[in-house]
């Protein structure tokens, strides 16, 4: 049996997957918290428990992400850009552009026909251009993050934010709430502002179709729809968008084990 593991320690969430024959078998996500080492341990324990394995059954583990250094049981680290590209390529071999909407930044990656990284760009670490903006406004609207997309999708008249900054945006959202603007219009306004920033990042790199999206932001379906209309394209969304980078790490674990 050949099981491989990929662990992606992000600034907000840590993700892990186990794969077998390049197929994702099981995934697990925890809040990264203050101790990344502990998060890595927790993910590994939960993953192997879910598929009834022991640590020794895992042939190789590769770590990636912001806190990759803390995955002490990984055989090596891999760049998150390469891992994201690999993961998405595994699910959508046809994808030529990948948008990764993460908590601290957004990344756009261009892939070759063989799934290799041709070029990429990373947004500034700006809350207004990342999934964090959604979190901030969800908090103002007192709604769960998972309800944000469906709520925004109901809006027919999204508001226009006067700012691209999440801090100023928060004040603006509070003002709109006090003026009686419906929640869905505010949520849709956030998606519009965010989609605008993400689209200009994509355009900077030049969009090559088909385009896929991953990262926690991809769970916000209304956001994906807004980006689609900004870019005038259809976007591929994987079933588990948050795990694409971890999946890529696990796939790299196969090749790096073979070469040793």
């Amino acid at each position: 049996m050949s099981w491989f593991m990929g662990i992606d320690i992000g600034s907000a969430y840590s993700k892990g997957v186990i794969i077998k024959d390049q197929e994702l078998v099981v995934s697990h996500i925890v809040i990264s918290g203050a101790n990344y080492r502990k998060s890595a341990d927790a993910i590994r324990a939960e993953l192997i428990k879910k598929v009834n394995l022991t640590q020794n059954d895992i042939v190789n583990t590769v770590a990636t992400g912001f806190g990759a250094d803390n995955v002490y049981f990984a055989s090596r680290k891999a760049s998150d850009i390469v891992c994201t590209a690999r993961g998405v390529n595994n699910v959508f071999p046809q994808a030529r552009t990948v948008i990764d909407v993460a908590c601290q930044s957004t990344r756009v990656i261009r892939l070759s026909g063989e799934g290799k990284v041709v070029n990429f760009t990373v947004s500034e670490k700006c809350a207004g251009g990342s999934g964090r903006f959604v979190e901030v406004i969800a908090n103002v609207l007192r709604i769960n993050l998972s309800d944000f997309g469906p709520l925004a999708a109901r809006s027919k008249t999204p508001i226009t934010f006067n700012t691209g900054c999440a801090v100023f945006g928060e004040s603006e959202a509070i003002t709109r709430v006090s003026e009686g603007v419906p929640k869905e219009d505010i949520a849709a306004g956030v998606n519009k502002a965010l989609a605008n920033k993400i689209s200009s990042l994509v355009k900077k790199l030049k969009l090559e179709e088909p385009c896929a999206i991953c990262g926690g932001g991809a769970l916000n379906i209304a956001l994906v729809k807004t980006i689609e209309s900004e870019l005038n394209t259809t976007i591929l969304v994987p079933a588990q968008p948050q795990f694409m980078t971890a999946l890529g790490a696990a796939i790299i674990a196969i090749t790096s084990a073979a070469s040793e």
């Binding site: 203050a34 601290q104 500034e124 670490k125 700006c126 809350a127 207004g128 964090r132 901030v136 700012t163 691209g164 900054c165 999440a166 801090v167 100023f168 509070i174 003002t175 006090s178 003026e179």
Partner: protein
């Protein structure tokens, strides 16, 4: 003959009343008011009361600031940039560069003989404004007015690697939990804001004399950090919040004097201290 300048900022409303010789009669600062920001008229009423004047005694009122567009009792609206330039020059005649750091924007102005030549501003990103420190004060649970003095006690500056205000808050929490000292963290935060504003000012080119105004200029830690970042002497008015309103009052006096010199009178209107609203009517 009396003149008034009303500066409706995002957080504070400032009123300056002046007599025909340019002497200040009274100055009032008050909160613009939360959310609906309708307290501008209240601040004006206070100023009139202090000076024992009626609204109809004022020959000309100039409104400026973010909320200037809908001040029902004002005769003219003039941008805060022009008013600041005029106000700062009246206090520092040799000023060539003025930096106004407010709660939601930062403006750098080039001034020649009291006139605004050119400017750059940041109102797009909270990280280059006073809001950056406000958020830090909330996170650290200290008073906004105390943080500058605490930062001056620092032995070393801890560099804040995140530019974004929101991510910097997270970083500050992480630094605290790592056991870093509050004063050292604060010194780093002041330094981060100062270097962002210095970068903005450098786009314009810095020429002495340099004056800093706005609420953030009251923060001594910030003045020191700016001095270090810019590498030059910095002048701060005694009342750094009032330069916009002061400039507005001076301009009100000029407008009136010019009109009289042309043999015109300003349209006498019966003024009422209606509520000044923050957004123009289309938003309501």
């Amino acid at each position: 003959m009396y003149f008034a300048g009303v500066d409706i900022g995002s957080t504070m409303t400032k009123v300056v009343l002046m007599d025909k010789s340019g002497n200040l009669l009274t100055t009032v600062k008050g909160p613009t008011g939360p959310e609906h920001r309708q307290l501008a008229n209240e601040v004006m009423r206070q100023a009139l009361e202090q000076a024992s004047l009626q609204i109809d005694d004022i020959s000309c009122i100039v409104a400026t600031g973010y909320g200037r567009l809908n001040v029902p009792f004002a005769d003219r609206q003039i941008t805060e940039l022009s008013c600041h330039a005029r106000g700062v020059s009246s206090l520092f005649p040799n000023v060539r560069t003025a930096i106004d750091i407010g709660g939601q924007d930062a403006k750098c102005m080039k001034i020649d003989n009291g006139r605004l030549i050119t400017f750059v501003m940041n109102d797009k990103c909270a990280a280059g404004t006073g809001r950056f420190l406000e958020m830090a004060a909330t996170t650290l649970d200290i008073g906004l007015e105390d943080m500058g003095d605490i930062s001056l006690k620092a032995i070393k500056k801890i560099q804040i690697s995140n530019l974004c205000t929101i991510f910097a808050q997270q970083e500050v929490v992480a630094l605290l939990s790592r056991g870093e000292k509050l004063d050292n963290i604060l010194a780093g935060l002041h330094d981060a804001l100062a270097s962002r504003i210095a970068a903005l000012a450098r786009r314009l080119g810095i020429e002495p004399d340099l004056v800093i105004t706005g609420g953030v200029a009251k923060n001594r830690g910030m003045v020191r950090a700016m001095r270090e970042s810019l590498g030059c002497e910095i002048f701060v008015p005694e009342e750094p919040l009032l330069t916009g309103a002061l400039g507005a009052a001076i301009l009100a006096k000029e407008i009136y004097t010019k009109a009289v010199a042309r043999g015109e009178t300003l349209p006498a209107k019966s003024r009422q201290l209606e509520k000044a609203t923050f957004f123009s009517s289309e938003h309501q």
